[in-house]
Symmetry: C2
Subunit: 385 residues, 2 copies
Amino acid sequence: MKKIYSIAAAVMICGLISAQPGRAPQVEPLPEGFKPASTNTFISQYPGVNPQTRQAIFRVVAPGAKTVQLQLSGTHDMKKDEKGVWWYTTDPLVVGFHYYAIAIDSVPVMDRGSKAYFGSNWESSGIEIPEGPEGDYYRFNKNIPHGQIRSIQYWSEVNGLERHVNVYVPAGYEKDTKSKYPVLYLVHGWGENEDGWSVQGHMANIMDGLIASGKAVPMIVVMPSGDIQTNSDVREAKGNITDIFVKDLIPFIDKTFRTYTDRESRAMAGLSRGGMQTTMTVFSNMDKFAWMGTFSGFFMGRQGGETPSVETAFNGVFKDPAAFDKQINLLFISTGTEERNPKEQVESLKAHGIKNIVFHESQGTAHEWLTWRRALNDFAPRLFK
Amino acid sequence: MKKIYSIAAAVMICGLISAQPGRAPQVEPLPEGFKPASTNTFISQYPGVNPQTRQAIFRVVAPGAKTVQLQLSGTHDMKKDEKGVWWYTTDPLVVGFHYYAIAIDSVPVMDRGSKAYFGSNWESSGIEIPEGPEGDYYRFNKNIPHGQIRSIQYWSEVNGLERHVNVYVPAGYEKDTKSKYPVLYLVHGWGENEDGWSVQGHMANIMDGLIASGKAVPMIVVMPSGDIQTNSDVREAKGNITDIFVKDLIPFIDKTFRTYTDRESRAMAGLSRGGMQTTMTVFSNMDKFAWMGTFSGFFMGRQGGETPSVETAFNGVFKDPAAFDKQINLLFISTGTEERNPKEQVESLKAHGIKNIVFHESQGTAHEWLTWRRALNDFAPRLFK
C-alpha cells in the first residue's frame, strides 16, 4: 500500500513546490543545548532557544543582502557566513513571549522560521523563551479536561459589519447542557487582535488548569476584537467599542450561550488599551458588570492639566469609596515591574478607602504576554465568588 | 470622558510602538478602481485589487534594497520610485485566492500588508481576487444563521502528542441539544494546516449557506491536521495519519459531540495530499465510512511500473464494481481544469461499472483554493442523503 501512495505523493508535492514559494531547505543542526523555539512553524529548526542560558540563535538565508539585522530588544547586526547565511546569538533574554523582526537591507520583515503572531498591526515573528516548571500553568496538560475555543462571526448593527469573536467554553459545557455560566469579557491590546489571548496568551491552558484544580469557577470567556475597523474592506465601520460590546456583543452572547445574565455574573478585563476599554465600558455601565480587571492598562489620567485625583478621575467614580465597593466586587489592577507602574495610583485609591482592589505585579517582565498570562492566572480565580 | 482616555491612549500607544517593530506608515492612495484586498491586514491599503480588471497593485517600502520582486505566478521585477518605494501592477489575474511572496534582494519574505496564510510550510502572503455575485456562496451572509468553528486540543495516544483540530458545528447545534449529526472529516493539503479550510477556504460561510438553504443536511465538519509532526517541539511524534484519525480522533469526536456513529453517517474528504489520505484511510476502513471525496488528490497511481489498472489500484478496491457501490455511496473526485486532471481515470472507473462516482471540474482554476471551495460547495449537498 505504502508504495502506491509514496509515488503519487512525490508527484503531487513536486507540483506544489513549483507552484508555491517557500520550501524549507536543509539546515545546519542547532548548537548543543539549543532546541527549536515552540513559536516556530512546525518544520523550522531556527530560531533555536537554550532553556538553560535563555539565549536564542537566529538564522537567515540571504546571500544577496548587504545587511541583515535582528530587531529584538534593540537592533543587532547579524553576521554572514561563506554560504550567505546570516547568524546571531543573543545574550540571555527575559523569559516569556517576545515579538521580533528581521531587517533585510533595513526592511523589517517576518522571519520565515516563526509562526505569525499579530502584533503592532502586522503579522509579526515571535519567540518564546521558556520558563521552567513555573510556566506549567500555561502549557497543555493532557491529564485534565479541556474547554473549547469557538470562532464565531456575528452581525453588529452598531458597527455595520460582521465581527469575529472567540469564545472559550469550559470543559463540561458540551455535556452538561443544563448548567449556566458566568461570563468574563477579555479584551486584547492595541495592535493585536482577538486571537491574542488564545494564541500568544495560552488562555485556554490557563483556564483549563484553574477550573480543573477548583481554583476558578467554570466560566465562559468572550474574547472580542477591540478595534472598530476589523477588515480591509472598503465598507465603512461605525460606532464605538463600548456600544458594540454593550448593544450587540453581550446580547448576542447571552442569546447564543447558556449564561447567567445578571451583573454579578459578568466581568470585563483587558490588557493595555483593552484595560482602558474596560474602565471606559464598565464605569459607564455599572448595571451590567460587577467585576473588572485592567492588565498594564490602568491610568487615572489627567483632565485639563490638573493633578490626577481619586475624586475626579473617571468622572468621579471613586469619589464615594463605599458606594464604589458596593457596586464593584473587584477592581484588579496589574502591571509588569519593567513597565510604567500604576502602584502610586493604586495606593492613592486604597488610601482613599476603596477596599475591593487588588494589585498584581509580574516580576521582571515588561509590556508583554508573560505579564498578562500571570495576570489572568491571578485574576480569574477571584471572579464570581 | 473622551479627553481622559485619549491622553492615556497616546501615552500607551507610543510605549507600544517603541517596544514593537512594524508601525503602519501613511501611504499613497490606491489608484482609481482599486480597493484594499480582503486578504490584507485590517489597516493595510496595499496590495490593492481592481475587481473590474482583476489587476492587483503591490507596494513595498524598501529604500535600502537593490532589487525587489513579486513572486506571484512567476517572478516580476518591481520598480523603485524616488522615495524608495517599490511598485508593481499585475496583468489580469485568475479569480480566487493566490499565495505570493516578496523577494527583497532575492530573499523571499512575507509582504507586511497581507495577513498570514499558512502554505508551503511557512506563513505566506495571500491575495484574493474577488469573484462577482457567483462568489457569494463563500462570503458571510448576515441574513442566515451561523455555525461555529471550535478550536480544540486533544491528546493522541498514537501520536504521543497533543493535537489541534477545528470542528464546525452547524447553526442550531447549541440550542437543540437533543439532535445528533452526521460527520464529515475534511483534510487540508501538504504545506498547509488544519486552519486552511476555515481561513483560506471559507468553509463556514459555504456550509452555513448550504444548510440554511436546505441544500445540505446539517452536519458536523471535523478539520484535523494531516501532518504527523505538528509542532517544533523536540518531543518525538509517532504513528501514521490513518491510525491517528481512526484510533484517536474519531473516538474523541464521537465522545465530545452529538454524532451519529454508524458508517452511513460518516464521510471523509480532503484536498491534494488530504485526498490521498482520504483514499488511504477510507479504503482501509470501509466499516467506518460510506462517503468520500478527493479534491485535486485522486491518483490511482502505478505499482512497480505497471500501467494503472482499475482492477489493481488501491489493492483492488474497484475490482468488483457492484461490491464497491454497495459500500461507498459516493466517490466524489474533483479537479481544476488548469491542473493535472484525473478525467481519464474517472472515465475508466465508470467504464468499469462504478456507479456511485461524481466528477467535478472547476473551470479556469488550478491547484488552489477556489477549486476547493467550489468542490466543497458541490460535494457537501450530496452527503448523508
